[in-house]
């Protein structure tokens, strides 16, 4: 008897709850555009946020809702963007890719260390010990915190212990910007080809003992630049990217190569007057 009652009670309860679930599913069903799933499939799934949306799914919703164009996804490639545009029947749209860029060119072959740092090999730890062992107070410590934090393998340390950003892989997520204890990374549109690769705030040639590619605040770039494109602030040239900046004029007479032109094909290019760096071995540490 007990068996029959309990089976009936549990069975009845199951039936009741199941019908409640079925009713709730009918009543509260959310109609979702099936295209959202398809579009999300076509996106790169990196959830990087470079488009300005919190991830690929919200971006897919925006695409289907017509709030954004596929071109906003700078991380995908041309075919991917075209496929989404085809599928939705919209224009691809143009968006300038933004990448992380390092404002330092002081690798170990050109920049001297004033002390040997032998502790935990991270930039953050080294920066706690009197700013690290680098001769230049502003320079890259070269211990690769940015390389480790990058989720997209876009940053690699070159043989001179300087991070190199792979523009194709960079999603401008900004993790390296936060990780760098010297605040050397910033997010820049790739069209900002004129670039000041130095953060040294001191004026004069003394800094050259610490780093051969440092800016000495000679102001030649500011003088040469057309229409006040480059101005000096705190002994550093500042490029005003709101003006037309598609000119190599400012870099031509730079004596150290601190202001450079980042070419689409050939990479970093220095002006004709810049001292050529042919050394590949690391500089010795400065004597105490």
């Amino acid at each position: 008897m007990i068996v029959v009652t309990s089976v009936a009670a549990i069975g009845g309860l199951t039936f009741l709850l199941a019908s409640m679930l079925i009713l709730a599913n009918r009543k509260f069903y959310v109609e979702e555009d099936p295209r959202i799933d398809r579009v999300e499939e076509m996106l790169p799934h990196s959830n990087c946020g470079a488009c300005g949306f919190p991830g690929c799914r919200p971006f897919a919703e925006a695409l289907v809702g017509g709030e954004a164009l596929p071109g906003k996804c700078t991380v995908s490639n041309d075919e991917g963007r075209a496929a989404i545009a085809d599928f939705l029947g919209v224009a691809v749209g143009q968006e300038i890719k933004v990448v992380a860029r390092l404002a330092c060119a002081g690798g170990v072959n050109v920049a001297r260390n004033r002390a040997h740092y032998g502790g935990t090999p991270t930039c953050l730890a080294a920066a706690q010990v009197a700013g690290g062992g680098k001769g230049c107070f502003w320079g890259c410590l070269g211990l690769g915190d940015c390389e480790r934090i990058c989720d997209f393998d876009a940053i690699t340390m070159d043989r001179h212990s300087l991070p190199v950003v792979d523009n194709d892989r960079c999603t401008a997520c900004g993790d390296c910007v936060d990780a760098c204890p010297k605040d050397l990374f910033s997010l820049q549109p790739v069209t900002h080809r004129l670039w000041v690769a130095c953060r040294n705030l001191e004026r004069g040639d003394e800094i050259l003992a610490n780093c051969e590619v440092a800016c000495t605040a000679c102001e030649r770039c500011a003088v040469d630049a057309p229409n006040g494109l480059v101005t000096m602030r705190d002994n550093l040239p500042v490029v005003d990217y709101s003006r037309p900046h598609d000119t190599r004029q400012p870099i031509e007479r730079c004596p150290t190569g601190a202001i450079v032109w980042i070419d689409e094909k050939q990479g970093v290019m220095k002006g004709a007057a810049a001292k050529k760096i042919i050394r590949h071995s690391a500089l010795p540490e400065a004597p105490t």
């Binding site: 004033r114 002390a115 740092y117 032998g118 502790g119 935990t120 991270t122 953050l124 730890a125 920066a127 706690q128 010990v129 009197a130 700013g131 690290g132 062992g133 107070f137 502003w138 936060d178 204890p181 705030l201 001191e202 004026r203 105490t288």
Partner: protein, 446 residues
């Protein structure tokens, strides 16, 4: 034998590093010569840099005010020597930052007399007068943190101060500056206490000393001015007793709340060297342009306690004191809380209580870092009852939010006890400093 804490006069946890004070504690304070070029950073304290009052090429007299405070969280700077301003620009500091500063070239033949200024008369001065006189004299905490003293003395209106503690603990190994100041500058200390009592309204003053300075305690007790509420108390030797929160616990058995100030429990703690400078400078209306430091450690030939002009480059100081050939590391401050120096072109500032040179014999190669096995030695050492082991693991994985919210990272004052006892050689304090840097960066961004 175990005593209850009130009888022992100490705090719980903490460590006992070797004191290593015997080399210099018996040596009287000697005057240090002037360097060929002085480097005076305008930010030697916590807060905002001072604003220069001089221009390049100007001649200044020793003790002349060369920079004025920029707001309340800033103090004045004074010329450490009569000379000419060579350059105003950026100067290196121990924090690894370049700050605005002044290069001063002293005149070689000058008598280097210090002029008298407008005195701050104890009999007439109101507390506000004294606070502004301390700011104008450029006085900051000389124990090492360099917190502007006048800011500390500005007690919020809703707080009542009953006790003034004069911190003469000097728990950091090797350093003996406070020891010598307490033996040689007793009238200045008692005068300074009078000023401080006037400002804070405290009913009594306690000079706190550790039991390794019994000669000082005896001498101070012999010379205590009659009729004034000043006592000398001796606490058990333990590191970090010189931290103000620990000292309050040791002497008064009061606990400063997390994130709070000593004034929350009715106490103000002032370093004894700072007190002596207040008592020495305010009646004469002068500014601080020199301080007492200990130059010690196995790598130094002429160890000693020196009254050194502020702005002396370390390279000059080390050359004068004589350096052993195989010096491998120089520490600014003591070995526990001090910083290893990356360069010798850094000036002595108001917060420098000494520097120590170690030779290759003492500094072994950096020991290998082993994983944390949760042995708990650091938990037993932390004077603030934090959990350094867990904090260290969180710092390694970059979980700074959890460190702040669940493990009270911001209460840590980086005494280094945890890293000292860690058998796995984990550089805990360095990790905490890094984590704090990142947390402050995030806070500034949001």
């Amino acid at each position: 034998m175990i005593f209850p804490r009130r009888q022992r006069r100490s705090f719980d946890h903490g460590i006992h590093p070797p004191e290593a004070k015997d080399d210099t504690r018996g040596l009287p304070i000697r005057q240090f010569p002037f360097a060929p070029v002085m480097i005076i950073p305008l930010l030697q304290h916590m807060g905002r840099p001072a604003l220069p009052l001089v221009r390049e090429g100007q001649e200044v007299a020793r003790g002349q005010c060369i920079a004025e405070p920029d707001g309340f969280m800033s103090v004045a700077m004074h010329a450490p020597a009569s000379g000419v301003i060579q350059r105003i620009g950026l100067v290196p500091t121990i924090n690894g930052k370049m700050v605005p500063g002044i290069y001063l070239k002293p005149f070689p033949g000058s008598s280097q007399e210090v002029g008298e200024g407008a005195p701050c008369d104890l009999a007439l001065a109101t507390p506000e007068n004294i606070i502004s006189a301390i700011q104008q004299a450029g006085i900051v905490g000389l124990g090492g943190a360099a917190f502007p003293t006048h800011v500390k003395l500005k007690i919020p209106d809703d707080r009542q101060i009953d006790t003034l503690i004069i911190n003469g603990v000097e728990c950091e190994p090797y350093l003996t500056t406070d020891h010598r100041v307490m033996l040689e500058q007793q009238p200045d200390i008692f005068m300074g206490i009078r000023y401080l009592i006037r400002v804070t309204g405290a009913q009594r003053a306690i000079i706190g000393i550790e039991a390794n300075k019994l000669d000082v305690a005896q001498s101070l007790r012999d010379h205590l001015p009659a009729g004034e509420p000043v006592t000398v108390e001796v606490a058990e030797v333990k590191y970090p007793q010189g931290a103000e929160k620990m000292l309050i616990t040791a002497l008064l058995d009061r606990e400063v709340p997390s994130g709070g100030l000593p004034s929350d429990v009715g106490v103000v703690v002032v370093n004894v060297a700072t007190t002596a400078e207040i008592g020495r400078l305010l009646p004469a209306g002068r500014g601080i342009q020199e301080r007492v430091i200990t130059i010690g450690g196995p790598g130094i030939r002429k160890k000693g306690n020196y009254r050194i002009p502020i702005g002396t480059p370390l390279r000059f100081a080390l050359e004068y004191a004589g350096m052993a050939d195989n010096v491998s590391r120089v520490f600014l401050g003591g070995p526990m809380m001090g910083q290893a120096l990356p360069s010798l072109d850094i000036p002595i500032t108001k917060g420098t209580s000494g520097f120590i040179a170690f030779t290759e014999n003492e500094t072994a190669a950096d020991p290998l870092e082993y994983p944390c096995i949760h042995c708990g030695y650091c938990v037993d050492a932390c004077p603030l009852f934090l959990n350094p082991s867990q904090l260290g693991l969180l710092a390694k994985s970059g979980r700074y939010d959890a460190m702040v919210q669940d493990y009270h990272l911001m209460d840590c004052f980086e005494c280094g006890s945890c890293a000292y006892v860690c058998p796995a050689h984990i550089p805990l304090v360095q990790r905490f400093r890094g984590a704090k840097t990142m947390v402050r960066k995030q806070q500034a961004a949001s």
